[in-house]
């Protein structure tokens, strides 16, 4: 089946994973019990034994002095997300020649971060944590929560793209019979947000951006005052509902 890959550009399909150096799953928790909210985001190694999940949950609850009811909720949430991740494992993923733009737009405590850059899905050496660390150093961000938040945001986006990738590959495999023409449209649809590599890296164009484009790809950092944070929080709440 593999040899009949609809993606002619992908020579070596890989098994599903997060396209980074470490195959770590971004986990996001948003739990509310009796008016008490617990929100967190972290990364989890999917090859860890599942027994760790409960241990982790217990530990977190204890450390944060949360009501014991959170333990099961947290464990369940993590478990669900891990199971979802594992459901993709083992499937073929065609990442060849795909560079996607990653956009960051997040608020961590009082820091507002906006950024825009390209990420190569074929680069299994990439390291979002390292990137985030450099980013914080370069931008002079002192809040220790910002770095991990950026890394997780990147991982989430990559995760999403990988999932899309796998499902579209599966679909195109199903649709393969007698519908060769579909391949390209399928590809283009899937990689609709991917960069046009030939345009960017072709021999005619320089990889140095034009000056007017620099602003687009320049990271923006805003330090918000407490009032602004509150206002923004309220806005986010509203959007969430």
């Amino acid at each position: 089946m593999k040899s009949h890959s609809p993606w002619s550009t992908a020579r070596n399909p890989v098994k599903f994973r997060i396209p980074t150096a470490d195959n770590l799953v971004p986990i996001r928790l948003d739990i509310e019990i009796e008016g008490q909210k617990f929100r967190d985001a972290f990364i989890w190694n999917p090859s860890d034994p599942d027994s760790e999940v409960v241990v982790f949950a217990k530990r977190t609850v204890k450390d944060l002095k949360l009501p014991p009811a959170f333990v099961t909720q947290i464990a369940q949430s993590i478990q669900t997300q891990l199971t979802e991740f594992r459901s993709y494992e083992g499937q073929d993923m065609y990442t060849g020649e795909k560079v996607v733009p990653i956009k960051l737009d997040l608020r961590v405590n009082s820091t507002l971060i906006k950024d825009h850059f390209l990420w190569d899905l074929n680069n299994f050496e990439s390291n979002p944590e390292e990137f985030a660390k450099t980013f914080c150093k370069d931008m002079g961000i002192e809040d220790p929560e910002v770095g991990p938040a950026i890394a997780i945001a990147i991982r989430e986006q990559l995760y999403e793209i990988a999932v899309q990738n796998v499902t579209s590959a599966r679909e195109s495999r199903i649709n393969k019979k007698g519908r060769r023409g579909l391949e390209h449209s399928q590809t283009s649809k899937n990689s609709g947000n991917a960069a046009d590599l030939f345009k960017l890296f072709g021999s005619k164009s320089s990889v140095v951006r034009k000056r007017k484009e620099w602003d687009v790809y320049e990271p923006m950092i805003d330090l918000l005052s407490n009032e602004e944070v509150d206002a923004l929080k309220a806005k986010e709440e509203r959007n969430a509902r």
Partner: protein
């Protein structure tokens, strides 16, 4: 435009990055950033890498005192953020960017960027050791000059290779080394003289024992399987050496052989006694020399460049002269052949020689200088070579070469020229004999003949070398009417004249010979050139002649053609005439016919 002018400025990069070149991609880059060179993607090609690299470096050099951050760079570059980061880290690691600022990070540089713009972690590890600084001129990336950074208190040390980059950085430093790839040699100072110095030290202090590292004074034992390993007597007798070496492998070596210093006076005495008095009766010789043993005397004579030859020659008169005046210097007659009228003006030369000897006496002994040469084999040999070379040329050239040599030597050694001039004003005379060009200094006899002055010079120079032996030889050359000072006088004089260090003399001689050789080469070249010119002229002439011959040939042909043409015209004329004639006749015959008709 701005960029071009900037590139002409000097930038400081570490010496281990001297491979860097704007034009090329070095193997270090190929190794560390392999993904750009394996053709795996159109997003990573050597061209793109070069664009990344050049942009980042140029960006940094817009203001080298400021630390360039990755975030600043990436907004201007299209490409995978991770790959960009890798390139950036690579450049930082090799000091191609952010090198200047690294040392003074805590200074004012980071002020504008806040604490966040301090350096990357990996880089700081090695920072303390990076004392070696190299300036590379952009125009010539290979011409690396090592300069001590003004603020580095430590002596210049070769910087360690940059620490390998962790994570996704260019962490291939180790692998690269293992895979047999050779790092470019450190561009900075390497201790080429260390060994020499060590050697010198050992020479100075005698031979150093391989075991106790102390000087071996009288006796030493050489390990026959490895020449450089030497034991001193003490260590040998106490069995104080490595076990795998057996006592049988050691060979007693008498250090006296080589370590003994011979003063000039001693050498003179030795030669004198050998030549004049005792021949090869070494017991007597050593008695005469007094300060040295029989063994020492023999080995010293062997070490002299002509030693073994002399022994072989059976100490005949003139044998020595033949030896020293050997080879192609046939033009220079030996003392004996002088008499046999081989040279053009033998008598005058002989006289001249007398003259010089006399001259030597009254002028202070210029030649005795060179006579002291035999104290050092090298020096003596050198002198011989110099003499030989100097005979090939005009004395003026030799003189000026010697002069130049001494001048530069004096300059180099910061010693006064007077050392040479005053001490024995005629030092050069001994080599180059400028007097030859100043015949008026001589009482007008044979030397007025410039043509013979060359020969005179040759002889004179040779004499300087031979003098000692000749002196020692005493009555042997009596035909010349030798008025040379007796040996004791020589000894006295030479010890006085010994003020110039021997190596200085040797160097002067070397330089002189070089100069002379150069002059000689120039002369030869000139000659060759002239010859070439001649040949070319001949060739051209021949060609011209050939052409002229051709022209002549053509002219002949033309003449033939012309005559043929004339003949043809003539024939034509006659033909026409004939035709006219025929027609005329026809008309004549026809008209009446037509009239009839």
């Amino acid at each position: 435009m701005e960029r071009i002018t900037r590139e002409l400025e000097l930038y400081t990069i570490p010496s281990y990055s001297s491979w860097f070149s704007w034009i090329n991609i070095h193997e270090v880059e190929r190794f560390s950033l392999r993904e750009f060179f394996d053709g795996s993607s159109i997003t990573r090609t050597p061209r793109i890498y070069k664009e990344y690299r050049d942009f980042i470096i140029t960006k940094y050099r817009e203001d080298p005192s400021r630390k360039l951050s990755f975030t600043e760079v990436r907004k201007s570059l299209v490409g995978d953020i991770s790959v960009l980061h890798k390139v950036f880290t690579f450049l930082v690691k090799w000091g191609l960017i952010n090198f200047n600022v690294s040392g003074s990070d805590d200074g004012g540089n980071s002020g504008e960027g806040g604490s966040g713009t301090t350096s990357f972690e990996g880089k700081e590890e090695g920072e303390g050791e990076w004392k070696g600084r190299v300036k590379v001129e952009e125009g010539a990336p290979h011409g690396v000059r090592v300069v001590a950074a003004p603020n580095s208190m430590k002596p210049l040390v070769p910087p360690p290779p940059p620490p390998s980059v962790g994570g996704d950085g260019g962490g291939v430093v180790g692998e690269v080394g293992e895979s047999g790839f050779k790092w470019p040699p450190l561009a900075s100072y390497s201790d080429v003289y260390g060994e020499l110095m060590l050697q010198e030290e050992t020479n100075k202090g005698g031979v150093v024992c391989g075991n106790c590292k102390e000087n071996c004074d009288s006796k030493q034992y050489e390990y026959t399987k490895e020449e450089s390993f030497i034991l001193c007597e003490k260590c040998f007798e106490s069995g104080n050496y490595e076990k795998e070496k057996s006592a049988d492998d050691f060979k007693l070596k008498d250090t006296l052989n080589q370590a003994v210093d011979w003063t000039e006076a001693e050498t003179l005495l030795l030669l004198e006694s050998i030549l004049k008095q005792h021949g090869d009766d070494w017991d007597l010789v050593s008695k005469n020399v007094q300060t040295k043993s029989k063994l020492e005397c023999i080995s010293k004579l062997m070490q002299l460049p002509f030693g073994d030859l002399m022994l072989g020659a059976g100490l005949r008169n003139g044998g020595l002269l033949d030896i020293i005046g050997d080879g192609k210097q046939a033009a220079v007659p030996s003392n004996e052949s002088l008499e046999s009228a081989k040279a053009e003006e033998p008598s005058s030369e002989v006289q001249n020689k007398d003259q010089q000897n006399g001259d030597a006496k009254c002028e202070g002994p210029p030649r005795k200088r060179v006579c002291t040469g035999p104290t050092s084999d090298a020096g003596n040999y050198m002198m011989k070579q110099v003499t030989r070379i100097s005979t090939m040329l005009d004395p003026h050239i030799t003189a000026s070469a010697a002069d130049a040599a001494v001048t530069s030597l004096c300059y180099e050694n910061q010693c006064s020229r007077e050392l040479f001039d005053d001490n024995d004003g005629n030092y050069f005379d001994s080599i180059a004999s400028p007097e030859a060009s100043n015949p008026e200094r001589y009482p007008s006899n044979s030397l007025s003949d410039i043509a013979s002055s060359d020969k005179v010079l040759n002889i004179k120079v040779r004499l300087n070398l031979l003098l000692l032996i000749r002196d020692a030889d005493g009555d042997a050359d009596n035909a010349v009417g030798d008025k040379s000072p007796n040996p004791s006088e020589i000894v006295g004089i030479s010890s006085v004249k010994n003020i110039i260090p021997l190596n200085l003399k040797t160097r002067a001689a070397t330089a002189t010979s070089l100069g002379v050789a150069a002059a000689n080469a120039k002369m030869l070249a000139d000659k060759e050139e002239k010859e070439i010119g001649n040949l070319v002229a001949i060739m051209i002439e021949t060609q011209l002649k050939k052409l002229q011959d051709k022209v002549k040939h053509f002219e002949d042909l033309e003449l033939i053609m012309e005559s043929e043409n004339a003949q043809l015209e003539e024939a034509e004329q006659s033909l026409i005439m004939e035709r006219l004639d025929v027609l005329q006749r026809a008309f004549d015959a026809g008209i009446p016919r037509s009239k009839v008709a």
